[in-house]
Subunit: 320 residues, 3 copies
Amino acid sequence: QTDISKLPRITQELVNPPMLPKHDQVSTGQKVVQVRMVIEEKKMIIDDLGTEVWAFAYNGSVPGPMIVAHQGDYIELTLVNKSKNSMVHNIDFHASTGALGGGALTDIAPGEEVVLRFKATKSGVFVYHCAPGGIMIPWHVIHGMSGAITVLPKEGLSDGKGNKLTYDRAYYIGEQDYYIPKDENGNYKKYATPAAGMADELEVMKTLTPTHIVFNGKVGALTGKNALKAKVGETVLILHAQANRDTRPHLIGGHGDYVWERGSFANAPKVDLETWFIAGGSAGAALYTFKQPGIYAYVNHNLIEAVLKGATAHFDVEGK
Amino acid sequence: QTDISKLPRITQELVNPPMLPKHDQVSTGQKVVQVRMVIEEKKMIIDDLGTEVWAFAYNGSVPGPMIVAHQGDYIELTLVNKSKNSMVHNIDFHASTGALGGGALTDIAPGEEVVLRFKATKSGVFVYHCAPGGIMIPWHVIHGMSGAITVLPKEGLSDGKGNKLTYDRAYYIGEQDYYIPKDENGNYKKYATPAAGMADELEVMKTLTPTHIVFNGKVGALTGKNALKAKVGETVLILHAQANRDTRPHLIGGHGDYVWERGSFANAPKVDLETWFIAGGSAGAALYTFKQPGIYAYVNHNLIEAVLKGATAHFDVEGK
Amino acid sequence: QTDISKLPRITQELVNPPMLPKHDQVSTGQKVVQVRMVIEEKKMIIDDLGTEVWAFAYNGSVPGPMIVAHQGDYIELTLVNKSKNSMVHNIDFHASTGALGGGALTDIAPGEEVVLRFKATKSGVFVYHCAPGGIMIPWHVIHGMSGAITVLPKEGLSDGKGNKLTYDRAYYIGEQDYYIPKDENGNYKKYATPAAGMADELEVMKTLTPTHIVFNGKVGALTGKNALKAKVGETVLILHAQANRDTRPHLIGGHGDYVWERGSFANAPKVDLETWFIAGGSAGAALYTFKQPGIYAYVNHNLIEAVLKGATAHFDVEGK
Ligand SMILES: [Cu+2]
Ligand SMILES: [Cu+2]
Ligand SMILES: [Cu+2]
Ligand SMILES: [Cu+2]
Ligand SMILES: [Cu+2]
Ligand SMILES: [Cu+2]
Ligand code: NA
Ligand code: NA
Ligand code: NA
Ligand code: NA
Ligand code: NA
Ligand code: NA
Ligand SMILES: [Zn+2]
Ligand SMILES: [Zn+2]
Ligand SMILES: [Zn+2]
Ligand SMILES: [Zn+2]
Ligand SMILES: [Zn+2]
Ligand SMILES: [Zn+2]
Ligand SMILES: [Zn+2]
Ligand SMILES: [Zn+2]
Ligand SMILES: [Zn+2]
């Protein structure tokens, strides 16, 4: 039995996606990783038409921030529900064990906060999301209320054959499906409060057909001047989370050199994939070493979802 | 060439899902497993609104009963089509070889019965379903007419690295997609006979959007007082079949310690999964050892499908 | 650095799907594989109702022809956009590296041609498709504008445990989703030019619900008298490509003896699968040795997609 009070504690500064917080690839020893997230309910514009969603945003972003730890570490999260919010929220970590992943322990009303501590017993990249019970579960999740945690093996990543794998950069792509109601003229509706949209939104959700499927919260959040940067010769770790709906990442002009499709690093990665598959309610990881400069589109390769719904990012790769 | 007449014969008493029939995890020797299933066409209520479906039910249940055998065993099924039924039915075993999985050999009219014998040459958990030809195939399947068979390796399960895996309990979850037509007021329609609903149902089926996605035949069949029981420290085998549509099982607060996603035990299981993926027309298997007491929701982690369509079960885990 | 001008060059005669061009299973040495494809825009009937699509057809077929090479070979494609066509087209190879998979190098207007050369550095079966930018990408792809290339390992296929795998026949199944608009009477619309249908088609595409899902371009292209032939005892390689949408192949009465689900031959195949899963935007491979004569249906085992949308083929297996 570990005496947690004797473990070193580090405070991890969470950052906005698609970035990861500062971290070591190889563990320097078991520790307690302290993080703090503030939940904000806020209107967000999600496309070039000015379409609005009430984002339920862990730390103000969709997706919520990436946490990074090593296998065996403890995560100690302070979760704050801002007093100006209107809803009870909580957090369910797929990385944790018991108590509905933490959901049963973390219900907080506006103005409240809670501390959740759990041990990261399994390595991999795992989804977290709000799960306040019943229809609130999918309804909060499709308002953007999910994120991910990466639990690295103590020795870092490996190819399953005894060879270490490292990365020069890491990016975190959260894919979000939205279900925005339309009025009788076919225009997307806007709501003065989150609750005002709920009845309409449940009807769109039942069609299982999102109106928007986006990376990093909105159409174009990771394209053009917001493209992900890399250099020729660099190995990039791409973490892709989807809390609700299946997706199939593809890097146009590149490949998945090493891919953990279900995100668990305890399994040997697949190699040399053209496209990989992330099950709804999970996160996966891929490594690619860029060999040529240029713009690479990174898509959910249902091309309708990529182009007509929004699930496209760009890598802008310099070098020669 | 085996002289089948000299093999020991056992009669396996089939039981209602989510239970499995009594069986050994390790084979006691090659045998003929005799089973009998009676097909019943009957009205079934599938949700709290009183929505009806004409279930085409192998042995009276949706899904049909689980059969359990070992690799190399023969299965000898007597299939009975009750005389009060209205349709020709048959059975196609994904576990069998040739003759359209048995479908070509087993067409029976109401009042008839047929005996099918096949050798279980491959280990794994496999779907069976009715496949009477043409549009009758999906139409029967979406009326609940599928089940599964588990073919254990002779030596039982293993982790693919030489270590045996055993379970303390086993549960069988059949996930069913229904496509119930609505009238002009938006209420689910009821039909005096199965055939009366067919034209309407085909139109809903073409949308590829189920109105209901349920475990064990109906919304709530495995929640609340019907929750699946387990104890802390027990290892549970969860067999999940979906004859028609993809699904992504997730145990909230738990994991897949060992997962055979495609259900074939000839492949090493994946480990430590947050969520796994079952392709439509297949069955998969997962082992989990419960570490904490409490209620665990087990869902298809498209959360809209879990909550708004019905694909949720509960595990009620005692201990400390 | 290889001096490409010194490598032997072979001209590969492309053939219509479901056939593969003549090829060796084991490489006879690094080479340049020269192929030529002519793009044709042409009306095609896709079902028994006479429903029409404007096919954007690499070499006149949907899917485009299979190319076969070995790992390390160079592919040198001459791509011709017929002068009577109306659109700019190009080609993006998932097998290639850089330059948007070739898409950035190959835009050609009607009447133009272009030569693209790339090295097949990764083994596997990979999709290629037209990717002319923006909404043109999904719109061209759902007009049938995709195909596949098989890059065999130099030593041929293997089971990942040191045993070689060979095949007696190979078939290539391209699965295509179509989104055909209907008029106010519910009849499929016809358009005098490809461009005339675009606005309507984008609306159907946004539903993410195909009206047709077919093998080899049209309903019934591989059934009845067009069934795929094999003999008892033969091992058949089945290559299955879907450029846009997930699918779950199943051989009724057979199995996947060896399956490369994501199509990369650098991974050991899974064995003994009832059903396998191909992610949209990829191609997979399966080997099966037929044990019994008869008709085997090969389906996308969402049975609604197989029967009501069209995704069914037949194998006609002779012998005893
Ligand atoms: Cu929430
Ligand atoms: Cu591509
Ligand atoms: Cu039936
Ligand atoms: Cu959860
Ligand atoms: Cu095109
Ligand atoms: Cu079958
Ligand atoms: Na969990
Ligand atoms: Na994961
Ligand atoms: Na079978
Ligand atoms: Na299976
Ligand atoms: Na590529
Ligand atoms: Na592939
Ligand atoms: Zn919430
Ligand atoms: Zn809302
Ligand atoms: Zn979850
Ligand atoms: Zn039947
Ligand atoms: Zn059936
Ligand atoms: Zn089947
Ligand atoms: Zn084109
Ligand atoms: Zn493309
Ligand atoms: Zn592509």
